[in-house]
């Protein structure tokens, strides 16, 4: 196992120090308190300031923890913002596959549908935006479980509900399934939420590469799967490509 990164440890110590003090501290006070050379402390403090974790009222003034740090974790992508960013590509996905398209994100302890595009066959359909998708049984849910640590934590102690006889309820099998999802970059669910219905989903990443949502299609097993009940490769490609295109829209791998 590689050793700890010293500058990260020191940055953590500086943050802890500043958070515990009532008054802002000068650079020399920080250096003295932690036994660091002033130059070393300065480099770390400047970096922390640049990433927005600490701040000062005036140039050369004392430092304090920025309110941004306390908001870490609640600056998740707004669900409505997510919908407006994904709309063009989910329209294209639904048009290309002939299936209904959905976007889901893990939000307030649940995986919720942020956007839904009807299947193009003209049959009666109702928007399911805002509904909850099961994390362990749906394709969208599996992507969130595999890549979103918050989603992963939320199922640690809960019973995995069997929706059909195909639902994965054994933890060991689920872990194996999620490892495959991480390796392949997409998830499938075949008759696991509802008999006869399959789904294919892929991750949506933000500018930093963090998985903020999942996008996918849902439809009858006959259309989505081959005769060995595996999601059709062509459809998987469409879903993965759209996941990448939306990620690019959110700034992943793009300069501006």
């Amino acid at each position: 196992m590689p050793g700890n990164v010293q500058s990260v440890e020191r940055a953590a110590a500086i943050l802890r120090l500043l958070a515990e003090e009532n008054e802002p501290l000068t650079l020399s006070q920080v250096a003295t308190a932690l036994g660091l050379a002033k130059g070393t402390a300065h480099g770390i403090v400047r970096t922390l300031q640049e990433v927005g974790f600490i701040e000062q009222d005036q140039v050369n003034g004392p430092y304090r923890v920025a309110t941004e740090v306390f908001r870490l974790g609640w600056t998740r992508l707004d669900q409505n913002e997510l919908r407006s960013k994904t709309m063009n590509w989910t329209d294209a996905l639904a048009a290309r596959t002939g299936e209904s398209a959905r976007v889901a994100a893990f939000h307030a302890g649940r995986a919720q549908v942020a956007h839904h595009v009807f299947r193009g066959d003209g049959g009666t359909q109702v928007l399911v935006t805002g509904s909850i998708v099961p994390l362990h049984a749906s394709a969208l849910g599996k992507v969130l479980l595999a890549f979103d640590p918050g989603a992963g934590r939320s199922v640690v102690k809960t019973q995995l509900t069997p929706f059909t006889h195909r639902t994965i309820i054994e933890r060991v099998s689920l872990h194996r399934e999620l490892a495959t999802v991480r390796d392949s970059g997409w998830a499938g669910a075949v008759g696991e939420v509802e008999p006869g219905v399959a789904g294919i989903a892929a991750p949506i990443r933000d500018a930093g590469g963090y998985v903020v949502a999942a996008v996918g299609i849902e439809g009858s097993i006959d259309r989505l799967c081959d005769d060995r009940m595996r999601p059709r490769a062509g459809l998987v490609t469409h879903v993965v490509r759209v996941g990448r295109a939306i990620s690019r829209e959110l700034g992943h791998g793009r300069e501006w």
Partner: protein, 512 residues
């Protein structure tokens, strides 16, 4: 080369951003690149753009849209240009530079021009010839104001040294060579839909009207040549050479095509910066008795002109933008829905966003925006809700006008545009109209319609009927509100509108 897939591209030059989209033969988006431009508000009621900045954005996003899809320019079989309408640019063709900032369609500065013109020429006659009320929304008063704004501009225009255009003309002139690019010079053209918004084109003849040119003092030499919406507009030279330009068409007319509303009786409503309801009236020039304007829907080369009735709403998404940019109420436009969803009603608050006076069906240049019903009870969530409701109620006003003109109520409303991502707004629209609201599978129908028009021009699609097969329902909202509540709130909205009108009419107001 024979089997290389070909696509159509569309440049959509809008009020807040410009986008380039590429579509395949099934009308499915393959690629998109977009960028916002700066908007200038130098005085109350003034709205300007820098046309040179907009052209520099076009130069970046066209190659970017192609490269993101891994396409070469020769895979683009045709390009369609669509644009915010009425916005007025005057430039010097020798330098290629605009002589002033472009005056945007929302701008209200031209009151004095309108008063003078109203004295010299019968407003009803203007309406008969152009389909338009004498209002600051249209290009002619803006062009008159602009030519009066600098020394010698009128003289230079008379000497043939300046060109006028709406954004379609400006972009096409630059795409085809501008002041000189690789041995080519730009072509100075527009289409019937854009020309129908200038207040200088006669709807019957589809040519510039000499009487109106005289009353606005506009020399014919500075005007672009009017073409059908689909035509052969030559090849691009800059920023990519050799792409055939197949269509120029105003954004709202483009979205009517994007919704494949090719037949008389078909309508759509687009929710963008403003909101625009268009009803196709076929080859007939229909005059509204309820405050809609008459405009050209499109003209396919070699075919007859198709007309439309239009209910124009100046401020829809623009009000949400204002909440972000000027109030700091939200960080992104989509957050207005999150905020508004925090409360079940508006808490008694109503917003009438008469930032550009009021357009259809009121056509009042003086009205100003108001926010009423404020008490200590009202929170920013209530205001966010009132902001969205303002778009829903304004839509109700123009749908009522359309129903009154048509004599039969519409049974559903086809919607599109970026704001259809706002599910709460779409539910509100269904609630206040009391009919289902339906979104097609490509919400960006403006760009799609320009792509369709360009593709039709070069035979990529054989005829408009083929395109109908691409239309699919992607979402639908049905009315859920208690009818008594709807009627109560409608009455409150109407009272708020009358306040916005009377606030604008108080004496001694001078916006400039």
């Amino acid at each position: 080369m024979v089997n290389t897939p070909r696509y159509v591209a569309a440049l959509d030059q809008g009020t807040t951003s410009t986008r380039c989209m590429v579509f395949d033969r099934h009308g499915r988006m393959v690629s998109i690149a977009q960028r916002e431009h700066r908007r200038y508000f130098p005085r109350p009621g003034w709205v300007e753009h820098d046309a040179a900045e907009i052209w520099s954005i076009v130069r970046k996003i066209l190659p970017q849209a192609l490269s993101e899809a891994g396409l070469d320019a020769d895979q683009i079989i045709a390009l369609g240009v669509t644009n915010q309408r009425e916005t007025t640019v005057v430039w010097d063709p020798r330098t290629g530079q605009p002589v002033a900032k472009a005056i945007v369609w929302q701008d209200t500065r031209t009151g004095p021009v309108l008063s003078r013109v109203g004295l010299e020429f019968d407003a009803d006659e203007i309406r008969t010839r152009t389909g338009l009320p004498l209002h600051h929304y249209f290009s002619a008063p803006k062009l008159r104001w602009l030519l009066d704004s600098g020394p010698e501009l009128q003289d230079r225009a008379v000497r043939g040294e300046l060109l006028f255009g709406t954004m379609d003309s400006w972009i096409t002139w630059n795409l085809t060579g501008g002041a000189g690019f690789d041995g080519h010079r730009g072509i100075h053209v527009t289409d019937v839909t854009n020309a129908s918004r200038t207040m200088l084109m006669n709807l019957q003849t589809l040519d510039w009207d000499d009487d109106l040119l005289a009353v606005f003092g506009v020399p014919r030499s500075m005007l672009p040549q009017i073409h059908p919406s689909t035509d052969s507009f030559g090849l691009t030279r800059d920023p990519l050479p050799g792409i055939p330009i197949g269509a120029l068409i105003g954004d709202q007319q483009a979205s009517l095509m994007g919704q494949t509303a090719f037949d008389a009786g078909q309508a759509k409503c687009t929710f963008g910066t403003g909101s625009f309801l268009l009803l196709n009236t076929g080859q007939e020039i229909v005059r509204s008795r309820h405050g809609l304007i008459t405009t050209v829907a499109h003209k396919i080369a070699g075919g007859p002109a198709v007309y439309a009735l239009e209910g124009s709403i100046a401020v829809a998404g623009g009000l949400v933008q204002w909440c972000r940019d000027s109030l700091g109420l939200i960080r992104s436009p989509a957050e207005i829905e999150t905020l508004a969803a925090g409360v079940p009603d508006n808490g008694g608050c109503y917003v009438v966003p008469a930032f550009s006076g009021l357009f259809a069906p009121y056509w009042n240049s003086a009205a100003q925006g108001i926010m009423v019903g404020l008490t200590s009870y009202v929170t920013k969530e209530h205001i966010a809700r009132a902001v969205l409701e303002a778009t829903a109620w304004q839509t109700r006003d123009v749908v009522d006008a359309m129903n009154a003109d048509a004599g039969v109520p519409t049974l559903s409303l086809a919607v599109d545009g970026g704001m259809t991502a706002d599910n709460l707004l779409m539910q509100m629209v269904a609630d206040v109209l009391d009919i289902p609201v339906v979104r097609p599978m490509m919400a960006e129908t403006v760009a799609l319609g320009a792509g369709y028009a360009a593709g039709l021009a070069v035979g990529y699609w054989s005829d408009p009927q083929v395109l109908r097969r691409h239309w699919q329902r992607a979402g639908e909202w049905r009315p859920r509100i208690d009818p008594a509540r709807r009627e109560r709130e409608l009455a409150q909205w109407r009272a708020a509108v009358s306040l916005a009108l009377s606030w604008g009419e108080r004496s001694g107001v001078d916006l400039s």
